[in-house]
């Protein structure tokens, strides 16, 4: 089933294992996890607290190296075991977008500057970055807050700016860790639907860790984690989701 899709995969991970600490305090946070995310696909990552969801996301986000396993993003092998094959920081700024539970905006930059910075870091000219920033903020409905500092934004507005930032460099993979946990259910759902829109319209792969089972219909597919181990979830859309992703690829 994965073979015909592999050309359209944004992530392919096999046998990922992550161990924190050593000796008595050793915790196997992720154990032999394998997964793929296709272009244009939005995948939910579910599981109880402490299951290893965030850890899996930091591995896929090239934030921490895995102890074992391989990660390919796009067509590039990035991690083979603990060793990185590319400059991961450059890879992050070029190909990945992140959203977390907290917006984590740089507090001394305005909403627009926060988005712009992500692009300037990636060597986009300030003028081009500015134009795209305003487009993104428009797209996310926070253009009128562009010149506000993060402290002057509501939680939902800040989170939408964070989403805009994650989209800035047209990433092929967006990783979101409980992005709606700090929002009320209406706003939470808005953000989730936004991710779906981004996945489908911009052909990015999106993976979202969530505890919010009411929003599961937004996803094409879900994965479930328990005790560091990954299995296909019981998401109602799971089969159709893969088909959808497939269709979107054409």
């Amino acid at each position: 089933m994965t073979t015909p899709l592999s050309a359209g995969l944004v992530v392919e991970a096999t046998g990922l294992t992550k161990i924190y600490g050593s000796g008595n305090t050793e915790v196997v946070a992720v154990r032999d996890a394998s997964l793929t995310v296709a272009r244009g696909e939005i995948v939910a990552l579910l599981g109880p607290s402490g299951a290893g969801k965030s850890t899996l996301l930091t591995l896929l986000g090239l934030i921490l190296p895995p102890n074992a396993g391989r990660i390919s993003i796009g067509q590039t092998l990035v991690f083979d075991g603990e060793r990185s094959r590319v400059n991961v920081r450059r890879f992050r700024r070029q190909h990945l977008g992140f959203v977390f539970q907290k917006a984590n905006l740089i507090p001394f930059l305005t909403a627009a500057e926060n988005v712009q910075l992500a692009m300037e870091i990636n060597d986009v000219s300030p003028r081009a970055a500015r134009t795209r920033t305003m487009e993104l903020l428009e797209y996310l409905g926070v253009a009128d807050r562009a010149e506000h500092l993060p402290s002057k934004l509501s939680g939902g507005q800040a989170q939408r700016v964070a989403v805009a930032r994650s989209l800035a460099n047209r990433p092929s993979l967006i990783l979101a860790d409980e992005p709606t946990a700090a929002l009320d259910s209406v706003r939470g759902r808005q953000v989730m639907e936004l991710f779906r829109k981004v996945a489908h319209e911009q052909k990015a792969g999106v993976m979202v860790v969530t505890h919010d089972h009411r929003a599961l219909d937004v996803f094409d597919r879900s994965l479930e984690m328990e005790d560091g181990q990954l299995r296909t979830g019981a998401c109602p859309n799971s089969t159709t989701g893969q088909n959808k992703a497939h269709e979107n690829d054409k």
């Binding site: 930091t58 070029q94 990945l96 992140f98 990636n122 860790d177």
Partner: protein, 403 residues
């Protein structure tokens, strides 16, 4: 986009306060250095300004500043007769503290050899040099005296005819200049009643001894002025200043004068070293040590301030790393802020100091070389503190954003 400036713009009040704090600290360091330099400069000011080649003092003593030196006034004439001596001037210097207009007036009075020396070599900022042999004085501004003031000292009243700028004695007291005879009069003259009491006592003493009984006409003398009594001898001066003609070896001239049984001779350098090595030595070392401590303490405080500034931003730095920022971006953020703080603090300190130091009671001498070395110290501290912060920032893992 310059992150350092954006951050400063965001926490502008804090930045201003921090800069101000650092500048006060640096101003203290500058001031301490200036006080140290001022002490040294004041100590040697008179010796340098007088500029005599040789100082002839009482045999076995270390000169007029280190201890009491008394020479008969005729040494001046004897020295003049030595080949190679261009000029010899008597030197009298003593500090008095009197009341003037209900305020204490403390000045160091120096005698000038009228009429050859009218005080033209002094840095006169207002008025003129001495114009007559008596009852005029040139005073330093810092004494609080003004042109035209009439200051009663002893029996007589002296008019302030000139003001000097920055003439202070080695102990920091303002100086006043008058003719040698006036200076001696101020030192030794008694008020009328005291003179009359002394004359009466003298007559009584005379009457009590054989000489008085056998020569009663001496009583007239005893009741008169003391200088008319031959037994009282010549007046005394503290030292004699000697200038040597070009072409003569000062060492040989000095050796010749030093061979006399009643004097010792010091060169200009020798007198200077006596001052620095003796009188102000302890004070100088005390200030010097304190200054070093102050620099170290300010360095540590500055480093801590700059380091804390970085620590406060660690979360943002982790986020920058997570976004994929190069280390250069992070390095620039930290280094630019540190240099800006250090640089602005230094400049502010300089201007604050220029404004405040003149109000200090004693001189604060800010030397170019001290400024330059302090600038380098500030630069070094800023960079060192940044390096600490940068080392910390480079160790931050991007996943700390998630914590």
């Amino acid at each position: 986009m310059n992150l350092a400036l954006k951050d400063i713009r965001h926490s502008f009040g804090r930045f201003v306060l921090t800069t101000f704090g650092i500048s006060l600290l640096l101003m203290l360091v500058m001031g301490m250095g200036g006080i140290y330099r001022g002490l040294v400069e004041e100590a040697t000011l008179l010796v340098d300004r007088v500029g005599a080649d040789l100082w002839v003092v009482q045999k076995g003593t270390r000169g007029p500043f280190a201890e009491i030196s008394r020479l008969p006034r005729n040494v001046e004439d004897r020295v003049l007769a030595v080949p190679g001596v261009v000029s010899a001037n008597s030197f009298i210097s003593h500090t008095i503290q009197r009341e003037y207009r209900d305020k204490p007036l403390r000045v160091t009075i120096q005698g000038l050899s009228w009429p050859t020396d009218r005080g033209l070599w002094l840095p006169i900022v207002a008025g003129r040099a001495l114009g007559q042999a008596h009852f005029e004085m040139i005073a330093d501004k810092s004494s609080g005296l003004a042109l035209g003031d009439h200051v009663p000292l002893g029996k007589d009243t002296y008019a302030v005819v000139g003001l000097t700028g920055q003439m202070s004695s080695s102990s920091g007291d303002p100086m006043a200049f008058m003719t040698l005879t006036d200076a001696q009069a101020v030192q030794f003259d008694l008020v009328g009643d005291a003179v009359r009491t002394e004359r009466a006592a003298r007559v009584n003493r005379l009457q009590a001894i054989d000489l008085g009984r056998s020569q009663p006409q001496l009583e007239d003398r005893a009741a008169g002025v003391s200088s008319a009594i031959p037994a009282l001898g010549t007046s005394m001066v503290s030292a004699v200043l000697v200038d040597i003609a070009p072409g003569y070896d000062p060492v040989k001239v000095a050796a010749r004068i030093a061979s006399w049984p009643d004097v010792s001779v010091y060169s200009h350098e020798g007198q200077r070293n006596l001052l620095l090595g003796g009188m102000v030595d302890k004070a100088r070392r005390q200030l010097g040590l304190f200054r070093v401590l102050l620099i170290i303490v300010s360095g540590i405080i500055m480093a801590l301030i700059l380091y804390t500034l970085t620590l406060d931003k660690l979360h943002d730095i982790a986020m920058l790393k997570l976004l994929g920022a190069r280390n250069l971006v992070i390095l620039a953020l930290i280094l630019q802020q540190a240099l800006l703080l250090g640089g602005l603090g230094y400049c502010l300190a300089y201007y604050l100091g220029r404004w405040i130091f003149p109000y200090f009671p004693r001189r604060v001498v800010i030397m170019q070389e001290d400024l330059v070395s302090l600038a380098f110290i500030v630069l070094a501290i800023s960079v060192a503190a940044s390096l600490l912060g940068i080392a910390k920032a480079l160790r931050v893992q991007p996943n700390e954003v998630l914590a």
